[in-house]
Symmetry: D2
Subunit: 288 residues, 4 copies
């Protein structure tokens, strides 16, 4: 993130499609002195739904947060619009969940330090003890939550409490090898991003590289998605693949896949943090 | 192209950036009853230039072509805006130039027949005699213009006259192996698309596959661009690459490259026909 | 294919792995004066299986086809080796099956004419009447076999008889929209190549683009595979993907997918014709 | 690297092409009891040159290193063959050179720790002071060599001495922003790998992302190559590209390019360490 970038506000909107929506939104903002820096919209004609993202500079804009929420809410009330408002000065807070494999974790942290994410990462949660030192090094609080079938529910309850206490906006599962139960998924709807190590919907569930190897595919993939209650079925944010051949062993698939996982997860996290992602019908619109 | 798609009008605009341009354009169209189906814009902050493409349904729109040109022209006069207006009912007319290799030609014609281009292709021009039959089969007029250094100028003058007489909007060089001289380039500015068989700016000029083979590159590419007076230097519309290895002979590079050339040229032609391309500073903005 | 390429013979071999197999094969050929132009081998350590492809020039080689088969057979008898022998002078004969969509058909025929396949294509079979003219143009025999549930078995029996009579070595399903029943699959084991319009094993069966659209994937794929009795489950020869976004309608997915299908099918056919493909455990080794 | 992988020896060979070379090499090894685990060869017909890589298990092989060198040397003396011999038990020693940007450095070190490289990295050299701590953390010796035009020659002389003293086999320039002068290049022929942040031969020299941005390319690339005395002209080991659009600023190109640089450099280093790379005519053969 450019530290000299001007402060901006972003509206994410969706509603049933009708005439004049782009003009209506642009007009509202312009009347209040907005200098729009990005505007993007999309209509899904099959679903009859309109999506829009608009970002404008705070400087010179005539409405404060409260006023904006009230006036814009009234303005779009007849449109059955769902909308969220985000200020660039509100820095989202991320908690990373990790298990034993650290490639996504270390990649996220490098990017964080390099300024690729406009976010803070105050919290690292793991069902293993390995990464306490790493957490300290990056100034994160490390919390160890070992999970057994018996303790899972109570541990997750504690995790939810901790995430709330730490005012976490986004949970990133960086190859976290536990399936989250509905209580935690429901507590953070559309705010948990997972990386699955296959080209979904192929190879749902465990051991996707093993399954890919046995099926003899010629490309392996990785998929980042929002977590829902259905395992590996949530809205897909990004995907990518890499070519493999008969020469690649299962270990080679895993090694090549790691590079994919890192990139696909990082792109999804970045898109989410830039408020570029809207969900509907178990799909995503990813602007930008 | 969907034959049932509604009739639309499209404005392509560029001007020095300032506040409120999106709202200004959207507001103008909305006041006249436009149902905007696509709107996209871009600001090049380094260049300080604003670009916008907006497409709306003709049905219910209150201004005819003449009125629209006059009223919009007056409306944006203070903005130093350059703009062009396109109606989906005006079907662009394409002339294809070809030499001996027919892969791009046959690919374009297959796509044309399959409805991938909203265009007519009434004219095929070649410096060889091979493709007269093909032209007849597709209902194109075939014109043979052999070129020698001595006849080049006079032949090109005849070509220009023919292109004008046939009311050609877009010239597509489908592996046409003659360099066009300035007279013909100047007659059709930003309206001649070429496919170059390398990843420009690498391997400008003749025999790019040979040069790529000798340099030992691990990817070969293809580039579609608008033709300008500087050989292979015009604004790039699209590019792509394919992996090669030491096992690939020069013939393999040529064979693999053909697939690239077909796709990259077709994508550029389609983007141009959809009025998705704006040029500036020897670059392109490609919406969509 | 380079018409001036020297005549060659190719051995494709697989057997339980053991020491010295490469040397053993190379030694046999060298003793008989072979000039090896390509040799490639692979060991699947998990399966304990050895695979080898070796191609040598006919000129100067001391054994005729009969002798070679007999002597090599005896030489490798202790190894439990399966092997096939192919001469570049034996031109494989292809039958293409097509339904209503012609993009793969026309692409294959263009490549055939351009010399990308060392093969003859004497026969076009369809359950529709459209492509009789195309067949004539390319010197193929066109046979129309309309299929209904009632006639399917008898029509396929006639197709098998026709394929045998025409001495067909390879059947290519170029978007043929009928599922072949076991009788025809069993009659041409590992000699029927299909193109499926998804990244298998995702979206098996009908309407894969519709399914991909509804799942909201960010890449669509195509897969070429040998046909087995299990629908879309045969050994994969090649796969590829192309990026899509929320902006792409179902029609866009279909259009972008066509380009993939053409290329992935053509690469598989070419690999098969070059005797680069070995099957085992429902997978392929693809040399080259 | 699999720690349980058996110990192996690898021969890399090149010589003028002639009949029977594969058999000749395989026969030699087989006679001495080699169990070949990988063999690959290539003939550049245009250059008339034969290349081969063969790797076999040490266990059961009848020749020690000295004997092997002597006997194989005599065996291939009539062939004008150049060859090198590598044992998997000889762990190559790497020195990394870095300047201010650390993405390639940190990526290499993560992969090193994860076992992707069969190598030791005992030495980090920089013209800046930043990465002393990192070096300590990974158990590397850190040496600071500030470079000015006046001190360059003497500093490089010291670097050469240090590299020799530390018995360095491979120098990796991980975005080292100084041009090496001939003395150091000549001291480590084919043993210095650089990552250049463009798709060579496009955008040679400094500021390739800026040049790519200004040219308006639609893909940016990265290239790993052996360093020769001609800047950015050495034999290319690997290349890759990523798609960019008019929406990408120069900073976006740099950010997207970093991911490429990391992967392309790591793949080249890995290929070199696996003894998969042979050089000739300013190109590479990359087996595997």
């Amino acid at each position: 993130m450019n530290p000299n970038a001007p402060e901006t506000a972003t509206l994410l909107m969706s509603c049933p499609d009708q005439k004049g929506l782009v003009a209506k939104v642009a007009q509202f903002l312009y009347q209040h002195g907005a200098n729009i820096v990005h505007a993007d919209h999309h209509v899904d004609r099959e679903a009859g739904t309109f999506f829009m993202r608009v970002e404008w500079e705070q400087e010179g804009f005539g409405l404060g947060s409260e006023e904006l929420r009230r006036e814009f809410g009234e303005y779009v009330a007849p449109l059955a619009m769902e909308w969220t408002l985000h200020y660039s000065t509100q820095i989202p807070r991320i908690a990373i969940f990790v298990s034993k494999q650290d490639h996504c974790l270390m990649d996220l942290l490098w990017r964080y330090k390099a300024g690729e994410f406009r976010a803070e990462i105050p919290l690292l949660i793991s069902n293993h003890m390995e990464y306490g030192m790493v957490a300290r090094e990056y100034g994160m609080d490390f919390r160890y939550f070992p999970i057994t079938p018996e303790t899972k529910h109570s541990q997750e309850s504690k995790e939810i409490a901790l995430l709330r206490e730490a005012e976490i906006d986004l949970v990133v599962l960086a190859r976290y090898m536990q399936i989250l139960s509905p209580q935690i998924v429901q507590a953070f709807p559309r705010r948990i991003i997972n990386i699955h190590h296959s080209f979904l919907p192929a190879f749902i569930g465990s051991n996707p590289y093993r399954k890919a190897y046995e099926r003899g595919v010629k490309l392996v993939g990785a998929t980042s998605h929002y977590v829902t209650e259905d395992l590996d079925q949530g809205p897909i944010i990004d995907q990518d693949v890499v070519r493999v051949s008969h020469r690649d062993t299962l270990d080679d698939l895993i090694r090549k896949g790691r590079d994919l996982e890192k990139q696909v997860l990082a792109r999804a996290v970045r898109a989410h943090l830039l408020h570029n992602v809207l969900c509907y019908a178990n799909k995503t619109v990813v602007f930008g």
